[in-house]
């Protein structure tokens, strides 16, 4: 659990982060969104003390993050950034082994971890381990960057626009991978982005920052239903509201008993995808199947539209 308690950061009298308090639950994905200059990067950099707070405190599992030296704190917290920041003079395996090396892990334990992570990120350890970062594609470099951040099995992973430099297709893949990894390790992830689609896709909770303050902090659906300020409303976008609601709900939740014709949809697809399918195929209902392919009833256009309507 990360408790951010009345944290403030000023640079030469200019307040960048203004009295922010929030509690981040363990094993969740929290996405911090906001325009550039809203203080979102500064906020997460205060968690691992790359930036020292002017006032307030941050506690990790009840322990003040200033109780140990900054470099020791940072070895315990994963950190992935835009443009990956891989060390160009070290191989992929050496890059991933950075924090284990700083912590003095044995070679056997480090090697095993490197292999596990590379495999997990679908990079063959034998092929990619000895390569240098410049020999990889952008998407591969980004995966290695995240793998490096996770190497010492941190409870908390901070990510600063980690997918900002990726093209849309690789980005979508990277987001899926991240969610899978998060489930696998149970890591608490705090991610900064200015891409609202990304935020809605990944977040258990979203914190919206504006001029150094957190103006709203809650589950994505709450942001759509009850935006706290006009800024949050603008950020979500008037035209996007119904689709945002559908994008965060699973098709299974809208399923009802009954039959339907044609290609089925899996229950873990978003309702937005179900809607797209319905419109594209010109049908009124889709059969819904479970992940294992067991029929679960159907989902109708009506049911989806109702769910996209303004909640009362």
């Amino acid at each position: 659990m990360i408790e951010i308690d009345a944290i403030t950061k000023r640079y030469d009298g200019v307040t960048v982060v203004d009295n922010v308090s929030m509690v981040i639950e363990p094993r969740t994905v929290t996405v911090v969104v906001g325009t550039s200059g809203s203080g979102k990067t500064t906020l997460i950099r205060m968690i691992n003390r790359l930036v020292e707070a002017s006032e307030g405190a941050i506690r990790l599992d009840g322990e003040d993050n200033r109780s140990i030296p900054g470099y020791e704190l940072r070895r315990r917290i994963g950190y992935a950034i835009q443009g990956h920041g891989l060390f160009p003079h070290r191989t992929v395996a050496q890059n991933i082994a950075t924090v284990p090396g700083l912590l003095g892990w044995t070679k056997a334990r480090t090697d095993a971890k490197v292999e596990e992570l590379l495999t997990l990120f679908q990079l063959d350890p034998k092929t990619f381990g000895p390569r240098y970062p410049h020999e990889l594609s952008g998407g591969q470099q980004q995966r290695v960057g995240v793998a490096r951040a996770l190497a010492a099995e941190p409870n908390v992973l901070l990510m600063d626009e980690p997918f900002g430099a990726l093209d849309p297709i690789i980005r979508a893949k990277a987001q899926e991978d991240l969610l899978a990894i998060q489930k696998h390790f149970g890591t608490t992830i705090v991610l900064v982005t200015h891409d609202m689609n990304e935020a809605f896709h990944l977040a258990d909770k979203i914190a919206v920052m504006d001029k150094g303050r957190v103006v709203q902090y809650g589950p994505p659906a709450e942001l759509v239903r009850a935006p706290a300020t006009p800024f949050v409303e603008t950020l979500i976008g008037d035209a996007e509201r119904p689709f945002r609601l559908l994008s965060i709900a699973k098709t299974g939740a809208a399923a009802e008993p009954g039959e339907a014709e044609g290609e089925p949809i899996r229950e873990d697809r978003s309702q937005q995808e179900a809607l797209a399918d319905l419109i594209w195929s010109g049908r009124d209902a889709l059969p819904v199947i479970s992940r294992n392919g067991v029929p679960m009833g159907r989902v109708t256009l009506d049911a989806i539209l109702k769910r996209a309507a303004r909640p009362r």
Partner: protein, 247 residues
């Protein structure tokens, strides 16, 4: 031109140089036409090989000292506590460069006497600037995201310096050393005016006795050394740059 042509030319140059140093007598017919009938065509007041080795030793010692001091200085002024000295150290090193080597020799002789010492001082001061400037440029232009990642992964300032900053700066530092060595190779010849044992002796002897062959021998050996060492260090630099992915 094909890629292997320069390599072959360098190999040939090295062979000719070695052959000339080991057995200068066999090149006498080539140099004979340049001198008056009774004058010697090959330097006869000492071994060319030992002079060359002494010349190289002087340059090596001076460059080594200049490298250590310049790199340390550059590291120091790029640390947070040394930032105030950045301007001061820059001007100090620049003064070293603007001072003519001959003037340094003239001033150093009364202090440390004749011989190798004043030459070493002049070469050391002259060699500082390129290495210092290059190291400074390298250390202050490291990729931001890499430095950020180094801090974010929990490296201490010293670990960042040794594990990330210096390895990544190495190609540019080597480039500075390369410039410094070439300057020193040429400048070392004037050390012979204050009795340092360098190839300058051959040139000076030639000028004094109006012996064109001597002047040519001294000059060509220094020139060949400079070309070969320059190329060698360029290759080292390119190799490191490839490894660090900077190329």
């Amino acid at each position: 031109m094909r890629a292997w042509v320069p390599a072959i030319l360098r190999g040939l140059l090295l062979l000719v140089l070695i052959a000339f140093l080991v057995s200068p007598g066999s090149f006498e017919p080539l140099l004979k036409p340049l001198v008056q009938p009774n004058a010697p065509a090959i330097y006869n007041q000492g071994s060319l090989l030992s002079l060359t080795l002494l010349h190289l030793r002087t340059v090596l010692i001076a460059t080594l000292a200049a490298t250590i001091i310049a790199v340390l200085l550059a590291i120091l002024v790029t640390r947070p506590f040394g930032a105030e000295f950045l301007a001061l150290s820059r001007s100090l090193v620049n003064i070293g460069q603007t001072f003519p080597p001959v003037a340094v020799l003239a001033l150093a002789v009364p202090a440390v006497g004749f011989g190798e010492k004043p030459t070493l001082i002049a070469l050391f001061l002259y060699g500082l600037l390129p290495i210092f400037e290059n190291t400074l440029t390298a250390l202050t232009n490291l990729p931001r995201s890499v430095m950020e990642a180094a801090r974010g992964s929990g490296m201490t300032p010293l670990q960042r310096l040794i594990q990330v900053e210096l390895p990544l700066s190495l190609p540019v530092v080597v480039a500075g050393i390369r410039l410094s060595v070439v300057i020193s190779l040429a400048t070392a010849t004037i050390g012979s005016t204050v009795a340092a044992k360098t190839l300058g002796e051959v040139i000076i002897a030639g000028l004094q006795s109006n012996n064109l062959a001597f002047v040519l021998q001294g000059g060509l050996i220094v020139g060949a050394l400079a070309v070969l060492i320059y190329d060698g260090l360029s290759a080292v630099e390119a190799m490191i740059a490839r490894r660090t992915g900077a190329a």
